[in-house]
């Protein structure tokens, strides 16, 4: 289709969608209102199960099955990153010596921040995972912090250092086993909020490491033959 035809179709669809959305929006309950029946029902359950953070209670107890799906999506996408970005690894092994990892091209300010933040970040990550049942945060938020913290090494140092502390097969196995543990916990022992937070933290952390690792590989591979 020509650019013009595409924009015409978009104009029709966009105006229509805007109209539909606006019609619906003005029939929504008033902003900031007090009627949240489902939300209210979850509150006493969370308190009765000693999970003061109601969101953790919903995610890991009352609606644990949703989170099961979410963790599997995470695992699937980490596997997909390994799968889809794999060929360069084969190319790299084929023509050893022709490839090398380039230096980190980041701002100096970022480099210094990397140095400073690493230990603090890891501590924070563990804390967030451990206190997820009680205060805001939990396995997911902590896992993201832990998974990205490792990559601060790259900002502050160089790629080989990162590659050494990041054995891919271990993270693959760890991630999959954590997801497996979550399947068991969610279907058979829902409500073990602390254990589930820990498992999710492990899984999310590993998935973030795996995915970022694959992208780093793609981005930093210098082709010497060009």
């Amino acid at each position: 289709m020509s650019r013009r035809a595409r924009l015409l179709v978009l104009a029709f669809g966009g105006c229509g969608l805007a109209l539909l959305f606006a019609l619906a929006a003005f029939r929504l309950p008033d902003f900031g209102g007090t009627s949240h029946p489902y939300g209210q029902r979850t509150l006493p359950n969370a308190i009765a199960h000693h999970t003061p953070n109601v969101i953790s209670s919903i995610n890991f107890d009352q609606r644990a099955f949703d989170t099961l799906g979410e963790e599997l999506i995470l695992m699937a996408s980490a596997l997909a990153a390994v799968l889809i970005l794999r060929t360069v690894r084969a190319e790299q092994e084929d023509a050893a010596g022709k490839h090398a990892y380039g230096p980190a091209q980041v701002f100096d300010a970022l480099r210094i921040t990397g140095y400073a933040l690493l230990p603090v970040t890891i501590m924070t990550g563990v804390y967030i995972v451990a206190h997820g049942y009680l205060s805001p945060g939990g396995g997911f938020q902590g896992g993201v912090v832990l998974g990205s913290a490792i990559h601060l090494v790259y900002l502050s140092g160089d790629y080989p250092a990162l590659a050494r502390i990041r054995p891919i097969p271990m993270f693959e196995a760890g991630e999959a086993l954590a997801a497996g543990a979550f399947v068991a916990l969610a279907l058979a022992f829902a409500g073990q909020v602390t254990a589930m937070n820990a498992v999710v933290g492990l899984e999310v952390g590993s998935a973030v490491v795996l995915t970022l690792a694959k992208f780093f590989e793609q981005a930093l591979l210098v082709r010497k033959d060009t």
Binding site: V9, T42, G69, L79, V183
Partner: protein
């Protein structure tokens, strides 16, 4: 407990395979994956035999937790999913250069996600498993990531489907704001009367499902993805995944919105989208020479008919749609096995290229012949029985639509059979497009595991019409909340329409082999592979759907 085990089993095994994939030998991976899906189908069979049940996960009960609803339609559909998945796994025994155990892990996740999506009684949970299904599907489509077309097709698939899913979530948020509920049943209980909010939220929720069901104009991704996905994955896509979109539309309307939104606008819009897909898919199918794309467009056409069957909102037509779905799953998955066999032998699926080269492939030829007859709806195939009920409920125009769509798609498949396996018609120069044979190294002959599942699937599809109609009727009763239907496909009209469709299909095939396959520039330009076009059409489709519902 059996339901929880059934839902959890494929996921648990998938995680174990992913964890140990680097160490296990290939044969163990194959055996574990196949055994898991076989066990799953036994479990689902037990559930089906045990009658309808609802299980609240974690013991939370209505209003707080998530339920699994195993009524006959949901369980039967899950069983169909596992049956096709089992065949796909057997076909893949000799397929592929496996990367660790990722292929099998993904297929198990895919199977589990489809089962969970079908069985869940909660709208948001359905969204989550819809997304799991989609993410795994993108990854499987892009499996052979060294081919340019593959990654391009997978990307188009991913963007269009994800946007559809986000619109679904927007709709879920709107209906949650109104009712404060997420269960299908409890939403239905809390929706009284209809207004713009309810209508728009229904339209948005259905958008994601219609994208999955490839209703026109949401269909563009399907051919791009099917043409490039590995054969066993195509079996799952065309056989069951696309059809789940139609199932989700039916479930959303009948369980949650039936009391709020009047039937007439829903009927009009679903029939409009379905008919457009049935016709456009049929025409595009005849215009293809790439056999996997041809089969992909035939899926669009047949799923369009399925949507019409649901859209009639008539108890007999819904029974027909259920019947049609399983019949079509068998025939189409089988046909993809045949296409995979051609790809493996000749490393091409271009019809002109393959002229006469399939003469010695008796089994693959048989699959194409029987598959073509199945698509045409030869009695007593499942497609015939289902279509007969839909046509009976829909009247003359639907009858004409059904016969046209079947004749076009079956005609194209029979043309492939005549040209490739019988060497009919004059030869034409093909393209030079070369494909991967999909196996690690060239096999000297096709192993039985690559063909037998195809024959079984096609035969199952061709004989499913022999099921007594009362079984299907009783199954859909709790699903439709309509008085028990008494489906009886064996009437003079239906047999006549089946035979006419088969004859017309042979006519289309005979016309097709006389010359080159024509190009229709307008249609080719429309299916441009340009992601901007696809997304523009998607929002235009939402607008049309919303306006039809509001009118």
């Amino acid at each position: 407990m059996i339901l929880q085990i059934a839902v959890g089993l494929p996921f648990a095994v998938a995680t174990l395979l992913a964890a140990t994939g680097r160490r296990l030998p290939r044969i163990a991976i194959d055996a574990i994956a196949t055994a898991t899906v076989a066990t799953l189908s036994v479990l689902l069979g037990l559930v089906l035999a045990g009658g309808d049940r609802t299980v609240w996960l974690g013991g939370w009960g209505e209003g707080v937790g998530i339920s699994l609803v195993a009524d006959a339609v949901a369980t039967g559909l899950a069983l169909t999913v596992t049956a096709v998945a089992l065949c796909a796994l057997v076909v893949s025994w000799r397929y592929f250069n496996e990367v660790q155990a990722i292929f099998h892990t993904l297929v198990l996740l895919f199977t589990g996600a489809m089962c969970a999506f079908v069985l869940t009684g909660d709208l948001f949970d359905a969204f989550v498993f819809f997304e799991l299904m989609s993410v795994v599907a993108y990854a499987l489509t892009g499996y052979q990531s060294e081919e340019p077309d593959t990654v391009h097709g997978a990307l188009n698939f991913g963007v269009v489907n994800s946007l559809g899913a986000y619109l679904t979530l927007t709709g879920i948020a709107l209906v949650y704001a109104r009712t404060g509920q997420l269960g299908f049943v409890s939403i239905g209980r809390h929706l009284h009367g209809h207004d713009a909010l309810v209508t728009v939220s229904f339209a948005l929720i259905c958008t994601g499902f219609l994208v999955k069901a490839a209703a026109v104009p949401f269909h563009f991704w399907l051919a791009d993805a099917h043409a490039v996905a590995p054969t066993p994955v195509c079996m799952l896509f065309s056989g069951v995944m696309v059809e789940l979109g139609v199932y989700a539309v039916a479930r959303t309307y009948l369980t949650s919105f039936a009391d709020a939104i009047p039937a007439e606008p829903v009927r009009v819009s679903l029939i409009a989208f379905g008919s457009a897909a049935a016709l456009l898919g049929g025409v595009m199918c005849v215009l293809q020479r790439h056999i996997k794309r041809l089969l992909a467009y035939s899926t669009i056409s047949h799923v369009g008919l399925l949507l019409v069957g649901v859209g009639l909102l008539h108890e007999d037509a819904l029974a027909g749609a259920a019947w049609y779905l399983i019949g079509h799953a068998g025939v189409k998955a089988g046909l993809f096995v045949g296409a995979g066999a051609l790809l493996n032998r000749f490393e091409t699926v271009d019809e002109h290229d393959l002229h006469g080269r399939g003469r010695s492939m008796y089994v693959a030829g048989l699959i194409f012949l029987l598959g073509g007859l199945g698509l045409a709806g030869l009695p007593p195939s499942g497609t015939w029985a289902g279509k007969a009920l839909i046509e009976e409920a829909g009247g003359h125009s639907i009858l004409a639509l059904g016969v046209t769509a079947s004749a076009l798609t079956a005609g194209a498949v029979l043309r492939v059979w005549l040209r490739v396996f019988r060497g009919a018609g004059p030869p034409h120069p093909g393209t030079t497009q070369h494909h991967d044979a999909e196996t690690e190294f060239k096999l000297s002959r096709l192993p039985w595991t690559m063909l037998a599942p195809g024959v079984l699937l096609v035969l199952a599809g061709l004989l499913l019409g022999l099921l007594p109609g009362v079984v299907i009727g009783r199954a859909v009763e709790p699903f439709t909340h309509l008085p028990g239907p008494a489906p009886a496909p064996w009437t003079a009209t239906s047999i006549a329409s089946g035979v006419v469709a088969v004859l017309l299909a042979f006519g289309v095939a005979a016309l097709g082999i006389r010359g080159r396959i024509p190009r229709v520039d307008l249609l080719h330009r429309l299916h441009s592979g340009h992601i901007g076009d696809y997304v523009a059409w998607l929002v235009a489709g939402v607008t049309v759907f919303g306006l039809l519902l509001l009118a």
